[in-house]
């Protein structure tokens, strides 16, 4: 069997669902659930992985799933108690099963000893003797319909067979048609069929309606008896069957009064006698809940490319809508009530469509969170700590890409939390805490953003030590005095690692800076809060979607630019006395008794044309990483609107300080600023953020 690759894809997609169901079920069992439904669901998940894997000849996967299934079956039937060891073995086995699926998907092979170790663990589960699983030389070459007969080596027939065949009522009830069996025999050689009427029931008797026909067949063939028996395989036990070989010379030994019949009796025999409908009673037990409805809501699986194409088109629609609105305004038509009504309808409709389309890409974070419980288990095991994961807001929906790209940073942070955050069991108990540490992973929607929090109840950040390390590494000047939040922020600096020894866990040469970059690449931000002795909390804030955002349209040195609304705290028109010059170019904004550094966006992007500058600039107070604030100097603020994000990297290249571009209502292309990056460079104003200002794209080519 060479199933199409699309079915292979289906299999791996299904495996994701099954593995999710498995880990969900096991989590419920770990929490004490032993109900049939939960255990069955767990069993079925493994069973379905095995069934599908068999179709693709994924032998290793099948063998492991089979062994796993045997243990689950023992639990299901009550012969194996779910002790904490058994539970642990099952969870590790589920992890391994996921690895095997992943390996199969990537056409990798896992080291065989790994599987063997897991198999050995499963073997330790008492009362679950592994059933031999047929992995012979050609394990998946489909032995076709299994035969229950040991006489494969039966000698070829001397000349043929006399077959006496008398169906029982059950044969008809099970949907068999004797004529088909006779036909099949006929295909093996020349066949003489005689209808045996001697068993016809008495018309007047109580069995009048029971089927009473029988046949005696004389089949001349060179086929072995095994082949013959194969034809009757399904009806074994549903009929009286007697097969005896005869020699070449047919002997008229059959004493039965026979009536010669045509080769194949009328196919009308296929219809079962009326008795059939009375005999098998409906089994009331299994899910007699047909009225309960058709289960989950119908779903449709769609190629992601199609959705993305749709999203792209909707983006164009939004731009188009904005352009029309603007054009109408330019033509002074917007004041016409009729026109403005329709334009407003158009705008709302476009928004609706956009939201609906975005919802297609939205997925709950649940599978992602569930994966983290495995990471936690492994991390706890590797560090000898005891930890549990509590998750919240699992049904919070986030853009699919965000979820995918969040997996690595989250993995890293969970490992960090176990490795660096939590204390060892003894230290915890000494501090009066539960020996088992708790890591809380939560998700929630908050005003257009998704907030993901990772909180441990460990010792909290050791700030003196962080500062010490940062000083030794030259990350901060020796005499600088830093606030707590600033010290915490040092963790995100490239190359920072507080682990005194590089453990094989979180210390994989990746620091929190990588996490921060990954989050930033998603348009998000990460912050940290810590209370000594109580724990540390990381908060990741992400945009709901990567396709649109709310932005403030500003001009900078004659260029139109967009600043993400989420980073703007306040717009300020400073009074002349509010700005205090520091050095030659820099100035500080004095606001409510504080001094905040300002960043001249035009200068940091390398726009040097003074004629395009406003006489009275505006300031946008933005909050960067680590809650540090700065004020961006722009020439004018136009309006606030939703913009469609167009990646710049793929079309143009990376421009420091600029995160993406968009097309405005009038067709103008505008760059979307990255306030964090701009603010980060305020420390070195001599070097513009954009290294090659001359290579900035020409933004003023009007219509596109």
């Amino acid at each position: 069997m060479a199933p199409q690759s699309s079915i292979r894809d289906t299999f791996f997609e299904e495996c994701e669902d099954l593995l999710e169901a498995l880990s969900e079920g096991l989590a419920a069992m770990a929490g004490g659930a032993r109900d049939t439904e939960t255990v069955n669901a767990v069993f079925r998940a493994v069973h379905s992985v095995k069934g599908g894997a068999g179709a693709f000849a994924l032998t290793e996967l099948v063998a492991f799933a089979h062994r796993f299934e045997t243990v689950l079956d023992a639990i299901r039937s009550g012969t194996l108690d779910v002790t904490s060891e058994v539970m642990h073995t099952m969870q590790r086995s589920a992890d391994h099963l996921a690895d095997l699926v992943e390996a199969a998907r990537n056409e990798d092979v896992l080291a065989p000893d790994v599987s063997e170790a897991f198999l050995a663990n499963l073997d330790l589960c008492p009362g679950t003797e592994p059933e031999p699983f047929d992995t012979g030389d050609t394990p998946f070459d489909f032995a076709a319909i299994p035969l229950d007969f040991g006489d494969d080596a039966a000698p070829a027939a001397p000349g043929g067979y006399v077959i006496r065949f008398r169906p029982k009522p059950r044969l008809y009830q099970n949907g068999h048609d004797p004529s088909l069996l006779i036909e099949a025999l006929h295909a093996l050689g020349s066949c003489e069929v005689v209808l045996d009427l001697s068993v016809l029931p008495d018309w007047e008797g109580p069995d009048a309606m029971s089927p009473g026909l029988g046949w005696t067949l004389r089949l001349s063939t060179q086929e072995s008896e095994t082949v013959l028996r194969e034809i009757f395989d399904f009806v074994e036990g549903l009929c009286e069957l007697d097969i005896s070989p005869f020699d070449v010379a047919p002997e008229p030994e059959d004493p039965l009064p026979l009536v010669a019949a045509p080769l194949v009796p009328a196919t009308g025999f296929g219809a079962p006698p009326p008795a059939a409908s009375a005999a098998p009673k409906q089994d009331p037990a299994p899910g007699g809940d047909a009225a309960e409805g058709r289960g989950p809501k119908p779903t449709l699986r769609v190629d992601l490319d199609r959705v993305d194409r749709l999203i792209n088109s909707v983006g164009e629609l939004i731009i188009n809508q904005a352009m029309i609105a603007q054009r109408l305004q330019d033509m002074a038509l917007a004041s016409d009530e009729d026109v403005s009504l329709h334009v407003e309808d158009y705008r709302l409709l476009a928004r609706d469509i956009q939201e609906a389309v975005m919802a297609i890409r939205a997925q709950p974070v649940k599978p992602l969170f569930q994966r983290m419980s495995r990471i936690l288990r492994e991390a706890a095991e590797a560090t000898g700590k005891s930890a549990r994961l509590l998750t919240f807001g699992e049904n919070t929906e986030v853009d699919k890409t965000v979820i995918e790209r969040l997996a690595d940073p989250l993995t890293h942070m969970i490992r960090n939390a176990v490795d660096h955050g939590l204390e060892g069991p003894d230290a915890r108990r000494a501090a009066g805490k539960d020996g088992t540490g708790t890591i809380r992973l939560g998700a929630a929607h908050r005003s257009g953003s998704v907030i993901i929090t990772i909180r441990d109840d460990g010792a909290g950040l050791n700030r003196p030590r962080i500062l010490d390390i940062a000083r030794r590494k030259g990350l901060v000047a020796p005499e600088t005095d830093l606030a707590d939040a600033e010290i915490d922020g040092l963790l995100f600096l490239p190359g920072f690692s507080t682990a005194s020894s590089v453990s094989n866990l979180s210390g994989r040469g990746v620091g929190l800076d990588v996490v921060r970059n990954a989050v930033a690449a998603l348009g998000g931000r990460i912050s940290i809060a810590s209370v000594p002795g109580q724990g540390t909390e990381f908060t990741i804030s992400l945009p709901l979607t990567l396709a649109v955002m709310d932005g403030m349209v500003v001009s900078v040195a004659g260029h139109t630019m967009v600043v993400p609304i989420t980073s703007i705290l306040e717009t300020i028109r400073p009074a002349p006395g509010d700005l205090h010059r520091v050095g030659t170019d820099d100035s500080l904004l004095s606001i409510r008794g504080r001094f905040i550094p300002t960043v001249d966006v035009a200068r940091s992007l390398g726009f040097t044309d003074p004629s395009a500058r406003a006489e009275f600039p505006l300031l946008l107070l933005v909050e960067g990483e680590n809650q540090s604030q700065c004020a961006l100097v722009v020439d004018a603020v136009h309006d606030q609107r939703q913009v469609v994000i167009k990646g710049l990297d793929s079309n143009y290249g990376q421009v420091p300080g600029v995160s993406a571009a968009t097309v405005l209502g009038d067709g103008q292309i505008a760059l979307i600023l990255d306030p964090d990056a701009i603010a980060a460079h305020r420390a070195s104003p001599a070097a513009p953020v954009a290294q090659r200002p001359s290579s900035l794209p020409d933004l003023h080519h009007g219509q596109h």
Binding site: F142, N174, Q282, A290
Partner: protein
């Protein structure tokens, strides 16, 4: 006349495989994803043969078989059990429930087609 097959399996993979094999063989194939769904589809499509998995949510394969056999319509339709289990007692149980025949997973295209022809009498 085209043979109409109803395939009941909770595994999307197996459903896709069966459907493809059936359609390649020129059969019409309707799929259902659990026993309850299967029974509903059975009433709608009046299939010539039913292929069912055993281990399914809501209603298992045995339930499907006994529901069909105990019904009023098309109750003698051939029902094939598609199962990973080749253990004899499972076959015996399927037969006791009223299964016409069984196919062991993983199946190959020819086997499943030949079994269908065998129980339906379809040629070609």
């Amino acid at each position: 006349m085209t043979i109409k097959v109803l395939a009941i399996d909770d595994s999307r993979t197996i459903r896709s495989l069966v459907q493809k094999v059936m359609e390649d063989a020129g059969f019409d194939c309707v799929c259902a994803e659990d026993g309850v769904d299967g029974i509903a589809r059975f009433a709608e499509v009046t299939p010539d043969v039913v292929i069912t998995d055993i281990n399914m949510p809501k209603m298992d394969g045995y339930g499907v078989i006994s529901t069909i056999r105990g019904g009023e319509v098309n109750q003698s339709v051939p029902i094939l059990v598609l199962t990973t289990e080749s253990a004899d007692h499972l076959k015996a149980r399927a037969r006791a429930a009223g299964a016409t025949g069984w196919i062991v997973k993983p199946f190959d295209d020819e086997t499943i087609i030949s079994v269908i022809r065998r129980v339906t009498g379809a040629r070609g």
